[in-house]
């Protein structure tokens, strides 16, 4: 079977681990348990063209205390970049992570998630910011690990795109 490594990227506590748990095990917990290091989960997704085994690397969120080890990215076919819709500052980290990722992997596909979309009353992403992202080609997908909104879609979209990549002659 075709297998693809993908990485979860984003600031700490944006919901990377929760998204993986929701996608792989269909569970969600409110309790925050910060990830240390790396945890790899596997899940097979069925796409129109083929089945793909995703190796999902959940990497400890970047923050002031910890710098992300870019070595973990090597061999990745794509990334899921996560921003917390209730914390505008996490978008800044996202910009930096994309730069890191591009340095390490070159031009690989990534999907851009704005997570915690269930917390609408705490939502802090304004239209201007959204337009900016859209103009940059970072069409965001609003997700919620809590309700499951768009989680499946996001992973599938990335899986599809990593497949297309490989078809492209290089």
């Amino acid at each position: 079977m075709i297998s693809r490594k993908i990485c979860m990227l984003g600031s700490f506590a944006v919901g990377k681990t929760s998204l993986v748990k929701r996608f792989v095990e269909s569970i969600f917990s409110e309790k925050y348990k910060t990830t240390i290091g790396v945890q790899i989960s596997k899940k097979v997704v069925t796409l129109t063209a083929a089945d793909v085994q995703l190796l999902i690397w959940d990497i400890e969120g970047a923050d002031d205390f910890i710098k992300m080890k870019t070595r973990y990215l090597s061999g990745a076919a794509g990334c899921i970049l996560v921003v917390d819709g209730t914390r505008p500052n996490t978008a800044k980290t996202a910009n930096e992570l994309v730069e890191l990722m591009q340095q390490e992997l070159g031009d690989k596909p990534f999907v851009f998630l704005i997570n915690k979309h269930d917390l609408l009353h705490e939502w802090r992403i304004d239209d201007a910011q959204l337009k900016l992202w859209q103009a940059n080609g970072w069409a965001p997908i609003f997700t919620s690990a809590k309700t499951g909104e768009n989680v499946e879609l996001a992973f599938h979209q990335l899986a599809e795109r990593t497949l297309k990549e490989s078809v492209k002659p290089t």
């Binding site: 910060t34 240390i36 790396v38 690397w57 080890k69 500052n89 900016l132």
Partner: protein, 758 residues
Amino acid sequence: MNGSQEILNALGFQGFVHLGEGNFELINQSTDWFETIVTQAIHEASGLDDSSAQSTNNQGAEIPSSSQRNVRIANGKTFDDNDLALNKPFKLAVLFPFIENFLIDANRIWLSNTETVVDSGVWTEQGADGNEYQLVLKAFSVARQSMLLIENISDQFPEKQGVYQRMRELALINEKLIVELNRRQRSLQKEILKTIEQKASMRELEKEYQHHAAAVMICQSDGHVEVANNALVNIYRTESNGENTYQSLLEHWVNEAEQIYPEIKTNIEAGRYWEGNFQTTSFDGTKKVIQLSISPVWGEDLKINHYVCIAYDLSDFKVEDEDSDESIEFDFTTKLPNRRYFWHKFEQRKASADSRQVGFALVLIDLDNFKQINDEFGHMSADKVLVTIGGRISSSVKHDDFVAHLGGDEYAILLDYHANELDTSLITERLLRVINEPLMIEDSLININCSIGITTYRGEEISNNELFKQADLALHYAKQQGKNCAQRYHKKLEKRPESLKKIQHLRAAMIQRQFELYYQPQVPCDGSDNYRAEALLRWNHPTKGLLYPGEFLELLESSGLIVSLGYWIIHQACRQIKILQDEGLSIVVAVNISAKQLHHASFYKELKKAIKKANIAPSSLELEITEHCFVGEEQSVIKLLQKIRELGVLVAIDDFGSGYSSLSYLKKLPVDVLKIDRSFITELPGDTESKAIIQSILQLAEALDLKVVAEGVETEQQFRFLLDYHCHYIQGYIFSPAVKFNQLAGLLKRLKVTQTRK
């Protein structure tokens, strides 16, 4: 090897020798934890076999049983419990992608044959027993053997995890609080300012904000209170709600805040937005901490007529600790010491400077036109710029120097010096240089300029606040000088309001639309109908009559007003091109663009917008830039011009020949048109050198397929010479001075070159 095996087991290690090509051999008995993670990994892998089997099945092929426990791991070999025995090659990386990834680093170490140990960082594996195991890989060589250890750190892990957990939880709370508060405060400020702009009466405002959660006070510039809402009463706890109660509140705040923000007064008097948090005493004596913001409201007379003040009571989450010296705080965006910390340090350094027998300098840095970056790219990109600049400042000073981010786009540096005098130019030049280095925001390469004010102290009698004011004054002088420069404080600076007034006049002239575009035709030498004109700025001054750029351009440039006026010029020119086009006249209009405008972050976007809004062909607009625009920024300007030309807009080099570039340099520049510097034309036909230069410009232009415009052509002889040497367009009094827009169409139709070349 037996003894060491036991040690490995006891230490929680699973050791391997790398046999090459990803084959590993165990060197100690397999541990329980290792077995359970291997079992789990195999289990997951066989699960995968299931699905692959199914997909093969769909295609009708033979499939092996899906429930088998053995799994192919390599070379057709199946994996079973037996494989965990010693002395059997074993493909570890196939089961554990994390190990596979680590082999890149490990191989490097194994090949290098050094004593270095590389470490993978922590990773977590699921065990078949339902537990999670935290593991670390270590690779090294011993006696030319390639060793790999898996260390089980699950026992120490909870403690480590706990530390990070607490740290991050705290960081989260802090982050949320600050973001939320600032957001509310700023948006409320904006909202109120807007309401005032819409000419709401103070009564209406009072009604609107009476029950708002934030404390709102609006007062006149002399402190006379016009609006004070309930939340304000709650903070200051007073029975009487009479107007006079709050009469002195602004002053009260300024006095209180001054303790930690000595610049507050200067700031507010200068009409700048201010925010900060400090301890305040309410009328019943209770101490509270508030987050206060103050915005000035400017009247049409360009004077401050009101202040809008918004306060949040932070007492619930912030307890000011009187005893401790915890003023050590950092700016949230740049992670540099914040204003409060800065003042703390400032006082300390100043107080100790005498005893330490050193002098010290206070450097204030303010980024030029930062607001436009904010407007253009949004606050996230702007924050990124602040972080980058903060980093550049920090790395260009000595270790002992103290760098702070005062908020907004202001930074400060405190530095000691030992000599009698400090050569401040060294440091300011370095700062100007590093800050100005190109910076990438989104897709654009921009250059940030800054202004610097600096003052030194060596034991004089002077208050902290006075000293700060000196640097601030120097900074504002630098801004007036056209920004992007540094100024050291000097007594003479104390009196210089003249140019400030002039800047205010210019600003008022812009608001009152006293500027107008005139047009001077550029007549084609081939007698064709390719109409062209240069747009020229004129100021209809209310008392002095019509003013030419010579009288105000310098100040426009130095005050930075050229940027916004420049955008107006582009928009206006586009609108007028459209009018001519609608009359059936096809024309190219050239607009002068200064270096400042061109380097402005949103220039390209604004240009595009103007063209689109006016709905004109981009090729009917030409930008005239001078060679100065390239100085120091060649690559980024070339890139920008390429983009502009891709739009279809034409680019002309103005005053060509007078600048620093050689003619051959021209090949590199993305331009369409050259305008010969008028000084060469004036000297025609007598001056042989001018003649030679013009001839070579014309030859070069022909070789590069550029068009040439000669400006300042006044006499018949000049005209003849240019015609003979194949100049393309003639601009000058010989045909017409610049005229008002409504006369342009008629003028163009009348003008035609009928003479032919010799």
